[in-house]
């Protein structure tokens, strides 16, 4: 119980830290935010329930006024902003990713967590993000998806990384996956 609580809290802190540590560009020169990688890892490592809780905890702290979102954004205002669909999507993405990752846990390797991250962290997240943008900007879903498209290649890369990192983490700390 204590262990789950601290893991959830630390992964929430990890999401924040991934957005805050400078120079942690994922590949040379490309300023892709590592923060959504943290969301994916919550799902692939902690599983559906703990992963979603970690993300919700992170969002609670953002709502409380801490500037923890990539770019130093924070406060309730971000939930009124254009990216509100993505914010709502974060815990859902972690949950879906976690469900799939748990289902495929026994199959080793990095492909399965990567695919879990793709379905949850890219597809589900972008669907919700696009719906949010379409509402906020009064645009059709088609128009809103144009806004989301440039970020997709970076997101796919993050899935691969999530798979590799999860594989490494579970190898180094096998008990992690047990809730």
């Amino acid at each position: 119980m204590e262990r789950n609580l601290t893991l959830i809290a630390l992964f929430a802190a990890l999401i924040a830290a991934l957005g805050l540590v400078p120079k942690l560009t994922l590949i040379s020169g490309v300023p892709i935010s590592a923060q959504s990688l943290g969301i994916m890892l919550c799902g692939t490592v902690l599983g559906a329930k703990r992963g979603a809780l970690a993300v919700l905890l992170f969002l609670a702290l953002v709502a409380l006024g801490l500037p923890l979102l990539a770019g130093g954004r924070g406060g309730i205002g971000v939930f009124s902003g254009v990216t509100m669909g993505y914010l709502i999507g974060f815990p859902v993405a972690a949950f879906v990713t976690g469900l799939l990752a748990q289902m495929w846990r026994d199959r080793g390797g990095f492909i399965f967590p990567a695919v879990a991250a793709l379905i949850g962290g890219v597809i589900v997240l972008n669907v919700l993000g696009i719906i949010g943008m379409s509402i906020k900007l009064d645009k059709t879903l088609m128009e809103a998806s144009l806004l989301a498209t440039p970020f997709v290649p970076g997101d796919v890369l993050k899935c691969v990384l999530a798979g590799l990192i999860t594989q490494g983490l579970l190898k180094a700390r096998p008990g992690l996956a047990q809730a």
Partner: protein
């Protein structure tokens, strides 16, 4: 240029303004309620004149706190300006300018109003409102305590992680000219996990979560 990782601790300080405004003294609950109602009302806002009036009212609300405070509010709006520019360019291109203006003003008014609450409300007070709300919907006290503890843990550990992350980056750069990148995330996450285990042990030693 100061490396941001040194200011990891600063990120854990909430966005509340240090300039005292009348709003600072208002209780958090009513402020949040007012904000929700305002945000809902804005959704139905239509037409350029009404939108301009509402936006002007929000600006006036900021100016009540003084010019310096209003400037802080403006700084907080900076990330949105990119989107505002994109939206206006689009609407200019397709010739639907009034529509674009309304969309932009709706967006700005909602965000600015929410930021006003953030700038004038202490984190502790917001937490109190959340806890009371949770109690009212029947969340048991044990769960509420765990929530409070987990908030405290994240606040405690984020700057530590940021600092350790910074150290990882430094030690990487001492060894190679290659950019620090994704390969650091694994040891970084491992550190976080080991910290979590240690903290769990400490909590257990202190009698557990009860």
């Amino acid at each position: 240029m100061k490396p941001r990782c040194v200011n990891g601790g600063r990120a854990m300080i909430s966005l509340i303004s240090e300039r005292r405004t009348p709003y600072h003294g208002w209780p958090a609950g009513p402020k949040l309620l007012g904000l929700s109602l305002f945000t809902l009302a804005i959704f139905y806002m239509d037409g350029v004149p009404l939108s301009l009036t509402v936006m002007a009212a929000v600006c006036a609300a900021y100016l009540v706190g003084g010019l310096g405070f209003a400037r802080e509010g403006l700084r907080l709006m900076r990330p949105v300006l990119v989107f505002v520019a994109m939206i206006m360019v689009w609407h200019l291109a397709v010739g639907r300018i009034p529509e674009g203006v309304v969309i932009v003003l709706r967006l700005l008014a909602a965000i600015a109003a929410a930021n006003l609450v953030t700038l004038t409300t202490r984190m502790e007070d917001l937490l109190d409102v959340i806890q009371r709300g949770l109690a009212r919907i029947g969340v048991p006290a044990t769960a509420r305590r765990r929530f409070a503890l987990s908030i405290a843990l994240v606040i405690r550990f984020t700057p530590v992680l940021v600092q350790k992350g910074g150290l990882l980056v430094e030690s990487w750069r001492a060894r190679t000219v290659k950019r620090p990148g994704w390969r650091l995330v694994l040891p970084f996450a491992l550190m976080a996990i080991d910290d979590a285990e240690q903290t769990a042990e400490a909590l257990k030693a202190r009698g557990g979560l009860l």
